[in-house]
């Protein structure tokens, strides 16, 4: 079935992607996510549990897919996380944002920058200049080309995952991929 063979078109690269886990891990899970999306918010703790259970067998990659027309804060939240990445604090910012989805206006994004220990002046400058809007857009377009059809959309070892991402089903699928 065509739907089972939809592939990631932009390969994972250490130069541009946000990765947790080793290149040599037997299974890679990619998420295209939107920081203001409630379903991505639900997936966030599930991914954490999956990472906990699979340990070094899993490589996890997060890419941006902000649906800006219905999520007015999603774009700035994505840029904020990328600005944090420039200061080597991507995952801290990513986590902070998902843990505070109810507060994603620019003032709160600055507060999170302080909480994760960013150079605030640099952060504010990067946000003002939209320094990372290009990267967010590149993620978004790579998702469109890869058949991303909503958020979150997951890829397991480069193939779009269409099944449920509840913990049990996702874990079972990942484990059977590892075997």
């Amino acid at each position: 079935m065509e739907a089972d063979t939809v592939k990631l078109t932009l390969p994972i690269s250490n130069d541009r992607d946000h990765i947790q886990g080793q290149d040599t891990a037997p299974v890679t899970l990619v998420e295209y996510g939107d920081y203001e999306c409630p379903y991505c918010g639900q997936a966030y703790p599930i991914i954490k549990q999956v990472q906990n259970k699979l340990g070094n067998k899993l490589r996890f990659v997060f890419r941006n897919f902000p649906i800006t027309q219905i999520h007015p804060h999603a774009q700035h939240a994505a840029e904020a996380a990328e600005a944090a990445a420039a200061q080597n604090k991507f995952w801290q910012m990513h986590d902070n944002i998902y843990e505070h989805q109810e507060a994603l206006d620019d003032n709160h994004l600055e507060k999170y920058a302080v909480i994760v220990g960013l150079d605030l002046a640099k952060f504010k400058k990067d946000m003002h200049n939209h320094a990372y809007a290009g990267h967010v857009r590149e993620d978004f377009l790579s998702g469109v080309r890869s058949g991303v059809n909503g958020t979150p959309t997951f890829y397991i070892n480069g193939t779009r995952y269409n099944d449920s991402w509840d913990l049990e089903t996702l874990l079972e699928t990942l484990r059977s991929t590892i075997k």
Binding site: A3, V144, S146, G147, N162, S164
Partner: protein, 191 residues
Amino acid sequence: MVSCVECHAYILLTTYLPSMSEVASRQQESPSSALKPGTPAPDFTLHSTPDQSISLNLFRGHPTILAFYPADFSPVCGDQMTLYNEVLPEFQHFNAEVLGISVDGVWCHRAFSKDRKLRFPLLSDFEPKGEVARKYGVYRKQDGITERALFVIDSDGVIKWSYVSPIGINPGAEGILKALESISKPTKEQR
């Protein structure tokens, strides 16, 4: 969850809701009857709002994307119409127009369009029910809704690409973009 009483709408929740799997299990095994590439696209006129109608031949001279979908108000981020709304600038690089079509009535479309801030028309294949979907070979008679089907029509009004997605799966925009690339040149640099 949102419901719309006036709509002939089903509540959809991603790919794992019982109502969708019931529908999917009734999906016939026979090949899709969707009109194939090379077929002239049947013309039609449908209401987009209570007071306005849109005819397909208005878009002659532009590539046109017809996105048939089962129902308004699927409560996920990035249901198909929301996705195309987000990807709209990419379609516009090809000077292409998007038209969404379902059997929902104009009032339901209006509410849905407003909720999702859609920037392209939703057409109401409501009366006679599913008539345009039938012309395109994408009406699900047993369920009274359209298939989840895509058509890319070139600027001369000929179907260049069509695809019927499994009803529970949003086909995304990739197939549309590939079809647009094959038939037109972008109006400005994409990359």
